[in-house]
């Protein structure tokens, strides 16, 4: 059971949080002007990234605030958390590894 660092509360048990899917998928400005396909892309389609992924999380049983996180979907490690009004951090840099090479 991992700890998730809420940007407002600090590290808390993962059971306090709810997953909110891919981050940075804004509600379209003018849905009426979108084609059916464009609208369907917004409603139904999300990336299924292997590796670092920008996600939304909600501290459901804590402060109840939403925030964003960069998480590695292969290791489950949270590499950074950031507030909704923070810019998306670059996800290309090499992640800090939990492991270091044995002596």
């Amino acid at each position: 059971m991992q700890l998730i660092a809420c940007p407002w509360c600090g590290p808390r048990e993962e059971v306090e949080f709810h997953y909110g899917g891919q981050a940075h998928v804004p509600y379209p400005d003018s849905p009426a002007e979108l084609s059916d396909e464009e609208w369907a892309l917004y409603v139904f389609f999300r990336d299924n990234t292997k590796g670092r992924f920008a996600e939304r999380w909600n501290h459901t049983t804590g402060c109840r605030r939403w925030f964003n996180a960069i998480r590695d979907t292969t290791t489950y490690r949270f590499e950074s958390v950031y507030r909704l009004d923070d810019p998306k951090p670059p996800v290309t840099e090499l992640a800090r590894s939990r492991r270091s090479t044995a002596p």
Binding site: M1, Q2, L3, G20, S30, L84, R99
Partner: protein, 956 residues
């Protein structure tokens, strides 16, 4: 009189106190400090069980949780299946018997308490042996918050099993001093009889403390029997020691065959001689300690059989002085005996080949094939293992953040090394946490020990018995042999995980503590590949078995899930209500009168509401207070209809959809002020709708000046329903003009009752004239009583959720989540009128324009009237086309939809149903078939509103 195999003195047992117990019907004695296994061995008893599939005799083969042999069932004081005799602490009145491979669950309830504690520390040390104690002392002296857990009844680990000395005194004196020092450190939690059984992310470790198991019937009732410790550690030091592993040979399961180190434990810790005449078979130096100690204690050590060509030159002199015969370059190839070993078969061994052998008489055959570090917790934390060629063992292969392995769990096998490694592990943990180790963290001096002769890695002795490995047991608990591994490989399996599943090795009670690495070694050998390429199977929690009762803790029965009750709950109970669970709420379902079943009670309650007056406790309705200058903007975006045009003092029904256009909740909205609304949701949807509002406000529209909060529990809601409701409400609140003109439908009024604020709303979920009464829960009972009092002349009838459902279904009002399933739009429900055409956008709007949502063959909500006027169609029944011959065609039968709600109607004097039916509105007037219990019930399709379709009744 002492049992025959009890030594004259020594050990950690309380010889002054005798304990009586019954095993397999025989009354025996032991001492406090014994385990069931040591007490049985003191009576000369090795065989305790029979094996699961072959029925072979099995005995005590180790001294603790790694034992694959001694499975017992405890009967008294409380039945418990499948415990190891080696881990059951002896107490007066224990009744147990050996098991044929599997146990029996208790058929009486477990009355013991179980609980759980959360604990947070800087450093958690698992294991109170030399390395663990050194680590805990180092961390405690630095002022860190420390937890030390150890699974034995007392601290000391391997020191309990030997005669080692530290600082020129018995090592256990240092152990006692260390325990005392830790006890005096305010930031240290030290728990014995506590097994860390699972290691998870971010330093989370689960440990089971056995608090009263060792007390038997004397256990105090108020103390929990077992406790799960949920420990969150910033850093974990794993000092869990090592398990000795056997060497596999033919008939190696015969009782009297035991790990060499275990015999030393039984001698020194429990004062028990595990036999009179021993043969020791080893591949390494550690078994020589056992041989010499047993010899000194009076056991005749017949021979030390050492598979290494030179044996142990280092120990040769000591053994010769003790008169122990040394047989280097030899192996044990098999055993003789029936229920107990009588002979070890010994043969020369060179370059993997076995020569001609001979039998050596013995009643005890001790085996050591080396040591497997107990890497379970490290491995559970996803640490990778590496194979060490010299030790023939898998060791931690990398550093993990926040988890250090120390002592023999890391492959350090000498005492001085373990002490130093424990301190090193703790210092590393402290440094990582930014805590400075104390200047003085001195450790006791261990005597110099010579470098041992290198061990030989030997997994198995070639089978010369003619049985082809079919009696060479790898996993005694599964009766799995070398022949089984060979069969798995013959079947084409290569992965150790597949071999495990094919042979079932490692899947029993002991989870392969002795058999796992042997299987890797033997599999590698048979495949002709290096062991490191085979690897090990995955280590998974729990390390040792944990009872479900302990994991459940106090979360049982009524405490399993919170129960929510309304302010009127006691009244409902006293009135004899039958309750139903609605989410976590307890709601009255109906109020039966003597002799009434549910159907009769509901018909009576329905008739009262339709012809007189009924009253409901609707307090569970979700209520959300939405405030702020942009409150109306938010609701306009979330509801399909227009809320901003709602006048203060008025009420509007609204529907909420997801972005996909499917209905997620419905309810009424009261406008309390220009900048304030009270949003009512379904009982089950209350939390979800608040979350939904928060999600949009926070993530998409942070510019909106609006706040939402739940006020569900701040108001009770008491609908007074029926043609006589005006008389009742008017009588209780004389200050309110309750006439239809002054107080129209879908409006609300504030009033007060003796100074208590009350809100009244003309909302109807039944189609009848109705007033909802809102009041602070403190006054719920008083207001409810007054309404009942005022209603008595009109026969006011409390009704429950079942009647509420019938009344609303008769009006075609859907229950979201019962009549809908996440694929239903407002249009499907016949609620196009609730979808605004004026608003430029709202959540779900764009999806209504998708072609699929315009399909005339979508499932639509309609009414169904069974033609026989008898059958209550079971909810969930499928709806199919009318079949003239009355026979269902062979499957697949094309489905038109399904029944979503179905009741008996007092008003209609017949059963009716709501259903989602393909192109349903086009089918009104047609007859369809509903298969019920193998017969086809014809039903007429109708509109969804079956009672008062004109809405003539709502004003009374």
């Amino acid at each position: 009189m002492s049992p025959p195999f009890r030594t004259a003195s020594g050990g950690r047992i309380d010889r002054a106190t005798a304990v009586e117990f019954i095993f397999d019907g025989q009354t025996l004695t032991g001492h406090p400090g014994d385990t069931l296994a040591s007490a049985l061995l003191a009576h000369g008893r090795h065989q305790v069980a029979t094996s699961i599939t072959l029925g072979r005799s099995r005995g005590i083969a180790a001294a603790w949780a790694e034992d694959p042999g001694g499975l017992v069932q405890v009967e008294e004081p409380f039945p418990e299946p499948m415990l190891l005799a080696t881990t059951v602490e002896l107490f007066d009145g224990l009744v147990a018997h050996g098991l044929p491979g599997q146990g029996r669950l208790a058929d009486v309830p477990d009355s013991a308490r179980y609980d759980a504690v959360h604990h947070h520390v800087d450093v958690l040390v698992v294991g109170a042996g030399p390395a663990g104690l050194a680590a805990a002392l180092t961390a405690a002296r630095a002022g860190a918050r420390v937890a030390l857990v150890d699974e034995q009844s007392e601290a000391g680990g391997s020191l309990l099993s030997g005669t080692e000395r530290l600082d020129d005194a018995p090592a256990l004196e240092w152990v006692a001093a260390a325990v005392a020092e830790l006890a005096g450190s305010p930031e240290v939690l030290h728990l014995q009889r506590t097994t860390a059984f699972g290691s998870y992310d971010d330093g989370f470790v689960l440990a089971l403390e056995r608090r009263t198991d060792h007390l038997g019937a004397a256990a105090p009732r108020h103390v929990s029997r077992q406790r799960v410790w949920r420990i969150r550690a910033r850093s974990v030091v794993v000092a869990t020691g090592a398990h000795e592993r056997p060497v596999v040979f033919a008939d190696n399961d015969r009782p009297g065959t035991m790990l060499a180190g275990a015999a030393r434990t039984f001698l020194h810790r429990y004062g028990v001689l595990p036999g009179r005449a021993a043969v020791v078979f080893t591949t390494n130096d550690s078994a020589y300690d056992t041989a010499l100690d047993l010899s000194r204690a009076g056991v005749h050590v017949q021979a030390v059989v050492d598979a290494r060509p030179e044996g142990s030159p280092r120990r040769r002199e000591e053994c010769e002085a003790a008169g122990i015969r040394l047989l280097p370059g030899a192996v044990v190839t098999g055993t003789q005996g029936v229920e107990r070993v009588t002979h070890a078969l010994v043969a020369p061994f060179a370059d993997g080949a076995v020569g001609a052998g001979s039998a050596i008489a013995c009643d005890l055959l001790l085996v050591s094939g080396g040591w497997n570090p107990a890497v379970h917790l490290y491995s559970q934390a996803r640490g990778r293992l590496r194979y060490d060629e010299v030790l023939g063992a898998f060791l931690p292969g990398e550093r993990l953040d926040g988890l250090t392995v120390a002592g023999s769990a890391a492959g350090v096998l000498d005492l001085a090394g373990c002490l130093a490694d424990g301190r090193r592990g703790a210092r590393a943990a402290l440094t990582a946490l930014g805590i400075t180790p104390a200047a003085d963290d001195r450790l006791p001096a261990a005597p110099e020990s010579a470098v041992p002769t290198a061990p030989l890695v030997l997994w198995r002795v070639p089978d010369t018995s003619g049985a082809d490995g079919s009696t060479s047991f790898v996993d005694l608990q599964r009766d799995a042999t070398v022949a089984d591994i060979a069969r798995a490989i013959g079947a084409g399996l290569r992965s150790i995980e597949h071999v495990k599943r094919y042979t079932t090795i490692g899947t029993a009670h002991d989870q392969g503590k002795t058999s796992g690495v042997l299987t890797s070694g033997i599999t590698a050998e048979l495949l002709g590949i290096p062991v490191q390429d085979t690897g090990t199977t995955t280590f998974r929690p729990p390390y040792t078995p944990v009872a479900f009762a302990a994991l459940a803790g106090r979360d049982r029965g009524r405490l399993f899930d919170p129960e929510r009750v309304t302010a009127l709950h006691e009244w409902h109970v006293a009135a004899g209500a039958v309750f139903e669970d609605v989410g976590q709420w307890k709601r009255p379902r109906y109020y039966p009168r003597p002799g009434e079943d549910m159907a009769a009670a509901v018909l009576r309650e329905c008739a009262a509401a339709r012809t007189g007056v009924g009253i409901l406790d609707g307090s569970t309705l979700g209520k959300i207070d939405v405030q702020g200058p942009d409150a109306a903007v938010l609701l306009d975006r979330l509801y399909t209809n227009m809320m901003s045009s709602l006048k203060v003092g008025s009420v509007r029904y609204g529907v909420m959809c997801g972005v996909d256009g499917m209905v997620i909740d419905d309810g009424t909205v009261l406008r309390l002020a220009e900048d304030r609304f009270l949003v009512l949701t379904t009982t089950g949807g209350a939390a979800k709708v608040l979350d939904w509002m928060e999600e949009w406000v926070q993530t998409e529209w942070p510019d909106l000046r609006v706040h939402c909060t739940s006020v569900t529990e701040q108001w009770v809601t008491l609908p007074v329903v029926g043609p006589r409701s005006r008389d009742v409400v008017g009588a209780v609140f004389p200050g309110v003009d309750v006439s239809a003109e002054a107080f129209p439908f879908m409006t609300w009024r504030d009033t007060s009752l003796e100074g208590v604020p009350v809100r009244l709303a003309r909302i109807s979920f039944s189609g009848e004239l109705a007033y909802e009464v809102y009041v602070n829960p403190w006054y719920a009972v008083a207001v409810w009583q007054r309404l009942l009092e005022a209603g008595r002349p009109h026969g006011i009838t409390p009704y429950g959720t079942e009647t509420m459902h019938v009344l609303r279904a008769e009006k075609g009002y859907p229950i979201i989540g019962q009549d809908t399933d996440g694929t239903v739009t407002p249009h499907d429900l016949g609620m196009a009128w609730a979808v605004s055409k004026k608003k430029p956008d709202f959540i779900g709007k764009r999806s209504f324009a998708r072609p699929a949502n315009a399909d005339p063959l979508r499932k639509q909500l309609v009414g169904l009237l069974p033609v026989d006027r008898e059958t209550v169609l079971p909810e969930g029944s499928q709806v199919v086309e009318f079949l003239a011959d009355g026979e269902l065609p062979p499957p697949p039968v094309p489905m038109l939809g399904h029944v979503t709600s179905s009741y008996r109607s007092a008003e209609l004097a017949r059963p009716f149903a709501l259903a989602l039916v393909r192109g349903g509105r086009e089918r009104i007037g047609e007859t369809v078939h509903v298969p019920v219990d193998g017969t086809l019930v014809p039903a007429e399709v109708t509109g969804s509103v079956l009672v008062d379709p004109e809405g003539a009744r709502r004003d009374g």
